[in-house]
């Protein structure tokens, strides 16, 4: 596999084609249903589903605080995983690279242990 810009460009042009084709598929399906399916202006069909009762207010838009805690932790660890990606390909013949990453992951592990001890990982 040659590592030229041409190969890179060709690779991601395929991705672009896949995105377009992937978007065309739902469009076709929606078009088909527009042509084939019945349609009525019955007002109550627009009500949201509420297991047999009429919904009282609009759906609440308040989100539990616990979701934010997990989201913040996720961002830290996901960014870290991105740092590990290039390291995976190049660390094999240098112990110093390995120990650097060891220190990095240890610091993050300490962070996880701190979050755990503080009860941030406990669903309440």
């Amino acid at each position: 596999m040659e590592h030229s810009t041409d190969a890179l460009f060709g690779g991601y042009i395929t991705v672009l084609v896949a995105i377009v084709m992937g978007a065309i598929l739902p469009v076709t399906a929606l078009l088909a249903t527009r042509l084939l399916a019945p349609f009525s202006r019955e007002r109550n069909k627009g009500a949201t589903y509420e297991c047999g009762m009429l919904p009282i207010r609009r759906a609440s838009t308040s989100i539990g605080m616990r979701f934010y805690l997990y989201a913040i932790l996720f961002i830290i660890f996901d960014v870290e995983a991105l740092f590990v990606f290039p390291w995976v390909l190049t660390f094999a013949d240098s112990p110093s690279a390995y120990w650097t990453m060891f220190a990095f992951i240890s610091i993050l592990g300490a962070g996880l242990a701190y979050a755990w001890k503080k009860g941030a990982l406990q669903w309440r």
Binding site: G10, T14, V17, M21, G22, A32, A37, G46, T48, F102
Partner: protein, 378 residues
């Protein structure tokens, strides 16, 4: 514009990509229909039922009948829904899953396009699908959908890190992120021999990413009544199904390519493409069957158990796996050590699960009941 060779014919890259993507669209539709029929039949057998029997011989036309019915159903949108996000959500659920097919190696050299960063690309695109669930839940103006969407995102992000890190640990063995190269590198020994713990963790995280039982709290019928897709009807709803089963297919192929030797082991290179496709088909079918088996036999987890399992058990084990792999590779130690470590890790994982089962922690929210008579009696 460069040219590429496809079936022995020189053609522009754009045309080649277009033809290959279209072939995958057709294959995906057929396979998804087969998977839906297979799942209904298999789950039926597990529950001592027959599954679909009426449409066609043994009910094999059931999925086609369902598709025709779904196209003919009225397309509803709730009055209070946010129209733009509601419309966009099905694209955000389906398209990211679909573009994952670009790097999926069906056989040696049989991918739409072998990207050098294939593994990163696959993980990056397939995690966007969680955003679609959040869109669908948010836009539907429905409390169940909202809850389901939030749960889907929380669960998706929690299990994404163990998934990414275990796959990275395997990529360390092949020192490549190209799925085709990882697969071809296992011609003699599949990676599961060196990474048994990695395979188990990948499979658990895969089930969670796919929102499948026992991790289906986001879409569980008895809790959120269907979750994010509760307000989606007819063909719109079928897009959720299509994305779910296409994702299951992708993940099972990727799992068998990375851990089980894909179409390279055993004797993949010698016996030709037909044999490779058969090998890949059998391996991915086994992984899919285990997913259905799990669905039939495991109860659904509670959300606190689910999040705790990802953050407190899978995550430390996954990072430990990366560090141990690195140590063994850097100092050129025999790879058998990894097998021993993997088996020990599985024992540890099993111990953690058994311990949680034997000594269940209190239900979340029990603190609010402390001191009341109900808490005292239970």
């Amino acid at each position: 514009m460069t040219t590429a060779e496809f079936l022995g014919i020189e053609m522009p890259v754009l045309l080649e990509a277009f033809i290959k993507v279209n072939i995958v669209v057709l294959a995906m539709t057929v396979v998804v229909m087969g998977l839906i029929y297979g799942e209904r039949k298999i789950i039926g057998r597990f529950q001592m039922r027959m599954g679909p029997t009426r449409t066609g011989p043994f009910g094999i036309l059931q999925s086609i009948a369902d598709a025709i019915k779904l196209v003919g159903k009225e397309d509803l949108r709730p009055r209070g829904a946010d129209p733009w996000i509601f419309e966009l959500s099905i694209y955000f659920i389906f398209v990211p899953v679909f573009v994952g097919f670009v790097v999926v190696p069906f056989a040696i050299g049989w991918e739409i396009r072998a990207l050098e960063l294939g593994l990163l690309y696959l993980l990056a695109t397939s995690s966007v699908s969680g955003l679609g669930f959040a869109f669908a839940g948010w836009a539907s103006d429905n409390r169940y959908a909202m809850l389901g969407g939030l749960r889907a995102v929380a669960q998706g992000v929690a299990y994404e890190i163990p998934l990414v890190v275990t796959l990275l640990a395997v990529a360390m063995l092949s020192s490549s992120l190209n799925l085709g190269e990882i697969m071809a590198g296992q011609a003699s020994v599949p990676n599961i021999v060196w990474q048994p713990l990695g395979f188990i963790m990948f499979y658990i995280a895969m089930l969670a990413e796919l929102n499948r039982a026992p991790f289906d709290i986001a879409v569980g019928e008895s809790e959120t009544a269907g979750g994010p897709h509760i307000e989606f009807s007819g063909i719109r709803w079928s897009m959720f199904q299509l994305a779910e089963y296409a994702h299951l297919w992708i993940m099972s192929i990727v799992g068998s390519a990375i851990f089980l030797g894909g179409s390279a082991w055993p004797f993949g290179e010698e016996l030709g493409t037909g044999y490779q496709l058969l090998l890949m088909g059998v391996k991915s079918a086994i992984l899919i069957f285990i997913a259905m088996w799990t669905r039939a036999s495991m109860p659904r987890l509670r959300i606190d158990q689910l999040m705790g399992f990802a953050w407190k058990v899978l995550m430390p084990l996954a990072f430990a796996q990366v560090l141990i792999n690195g140590f063994v590779i850097v100092y050129d130690l025999p790879l058998v050590l990894l097998t021993v470590q993997g088996v020990a890790g599985i024992a540890l994982l099993n111990w953690a699960i058994q311990r949680a089962v034997a000594r269940p922690a209190g239900r979340p929210g029990m603190a609010a009941w402390a001191g009341t008579s109900e808490a005292a009696t239970s």
